[in-house]
Amino acid sequence: MNWIVQYLWLIPVLPMLAAGIIAVNKQPQRKLAATLAIGSMAVGFLLSLCAFAATLGHGEGTFREVFSFPWIQFGGQWMDIGWVLDPLTAIMLVMVTFVGMLIFIFSVGYMAHDQNFMRFFCFLALFAAGMLGVVIANSLFLFFVSWEIVGLTSYLLIGFWFHKPSAAAAAKKAFITTRIGDLGLLLGMVWLYAQTGTLNFYDHGNGCLEQSALTAMLAHATVGGFAVTTAIGLLIFLGAVGKSGQVPLHVWLPDAMEGPTPVSALIHAATMVAAGVFLVARVYPLMSAGALPAEHGAPVTTALTVVTWVGAITAIFAASIAVAQNDIKRILAYSTVSQLGYMMMGLGVGGVAVGMFHLITHAFFKALLFLGSGSVIHGCHEEQDVRKMGGLKKYMPVTFAVYAVGMLALSGFPLFFSGFWSKDEILHHASNWSASHVPFYLGCAGALLTAFYMTRQVALVFFGKYRGGAQENTADSHADAHAHGHHQPSAHETGHDQTPHESPAVMTVPLIILAVFAVLLGFVGTPAWPWFDGYMTGETVSFDFSKLTESGTLELMVASAVIVFTGLGLGVFLYGKRQRKTVEEKDVLEAAQPALFTLLQNKYYIDELYEHTVIRFNALAAWFCDFLDQWIFGGAVLLVSYVTLGLAWLYRLMDEKLVNFGFDAGCDSLRGLGGGSSRLHTGRVQTYLRVIGVALVLLILFLVWGRKA
């Protein structure tokens, strides 16, 4: 066994130790906290690289090594936990540790003024531990535990500024919404255990994702003729839907932007939300079990069809909402939801490699965009409304440059940016999907919208004239800065530093590194050299330029380029040519299509729908339970207590009047008897002696005369 497999556990344990050490230290040791957190991630990154190297160069077939040991016993069975090293794990490890490390470094600058710097890094490190645990887990049990740690830290970090009521509410919303999905995951896990007797993914032929277990499960059918694998797969997918913000459980993710921006970048763009996609990729053998061998492309099963449709609908749905948002982070949040939809769709139509490729490229460019927006927010004194920005190109050149790279990557600008290659691969597989072509068209529409809303955002933020100024900067940002616990004695309060400023190097350097990867990463998965595909599936690939011009591939690339250029052009035409002058001015789309714009701006009223259905129902159920509790169960308890009281009263009566009476009489007579007999004891010795003498005489008389008679 490779040494790295045995020491794989170090990768999640190091950040966890860092979190523990930070947690027990005193408040002012900021340097220690940052060093520990970043250091643990750096060591983790190096170990991840070793693990990654171990998975390379194995020729045909996938590299996979597991390390398991028994953990707890219940009944007669041992529950194993352990970890697995395969390409899926290795690539996620490298991505999470690398992006995480850069975001940690960025946070040092972003959170520099926050009072609770230590708490922030403690949570971040704990999150990294949970996320890396998710990645290496070889048992659904360990996976679930880590998954919940990740959910917890997500809650803690969204609610990091918990004195803002909106942040506290968003944290609760995120936690409860993902809980709905987690319930599905838990049920799926239990069902899987009931069916196979193990939760290990791979266990030398005995794991629940290996052929013997899958064949056994396929033999069973549940209601409606579904195979058990389909039912379990869909339940597990429900967990992924909750965590990855897919429709209909997407509502928490945009609200989660209440957290600090590095958190949004790390948790709600790059890693945690991708955990749902990773989960589907991990249990892909279960999802695809029982498929008929397809003539070309990926297998088609019921579970994968559901995954595809949910992904496709999410992709277009969230992209359309993003068009009409004004908060810079919310636009990115809906964009994330939309891209996660693409990943799900990629998993559904093309298999693990397709979805994972987009996951990895997306992690880099979305982390870049979020950190870029963090830099913008930081530079504009905690302002998040794009209408109050504008013209930042001049003030923040570095941020603008890297943001533009991220925006082009996300839009899928042809040939040079990673987003183009990964998104193109998804669309390519979608167009070949044998079940339906609708997801392909939805994906194309989503791509158009993506290019459009990103152009709108960049045009509003970086071009034109700076619209933030004295009048806006007072009330809002003042309150914000206050709420964030900032202690900036400076600057925008005194009024002479109203203009935005570029962020320090500790923030821009990670941005530049991310930007480089946002460009370069695409080239490991082009049709000409599909290295990533080969790496995930274990096939050897070679560089073949002619594949680029193959029929099908070329047409699709051209089509997708046309879509992207249409989106970009539309954005430039609507927002770039004529910049808005004031903050209050109506959006161009709003002027043209007020009804549609309002609908989109209000996110299709999904929140309101939930408010009036699910939450209303929940409140009703809670009221009903309260009623039951107070009147039915409470009444029963009250009744019992009254019966007890009545009985006690009766007992007391019997005791006092009946039992005590008898005992008292007995006692009195005994006492009288005692008193009478005690009178014989005069205490005079001679009286006793006299009695003895008389008794002796009587005895003698009895002996003398009694015998004769």
Partner: protein, 103 residues
Amino acid sequence: MTPLQVCLLFSALLFATGFAGAVTRRHAILVLIGIELMLNAANVNLIAFWRFGPHPEALTGFIFVLFSMALAAAEAAVGLALVIAIFRHKKTSNLDEVKDLKG
């Protein structure tokens, strides 16, 4: 009248005298003297039954009485000590006034 009968009559007389003294006198020491008389009456009986019994050569009664007298001496010592203690405590030796054992 045989010598044994004379001895028994004498001892009965001695016992009656002692008993009368122990019962009637109020002074604690006089009561003790009565008790000693009763004890000696018993000793006289023991000597008589030994001396005029079937084995006068065996010295059994004599030894018995010797023990009995030693016992009487010890008893007298304890009794006198009690009387002194009661006197110190009560400032009296009148037995009618010593009735703490009254029930």
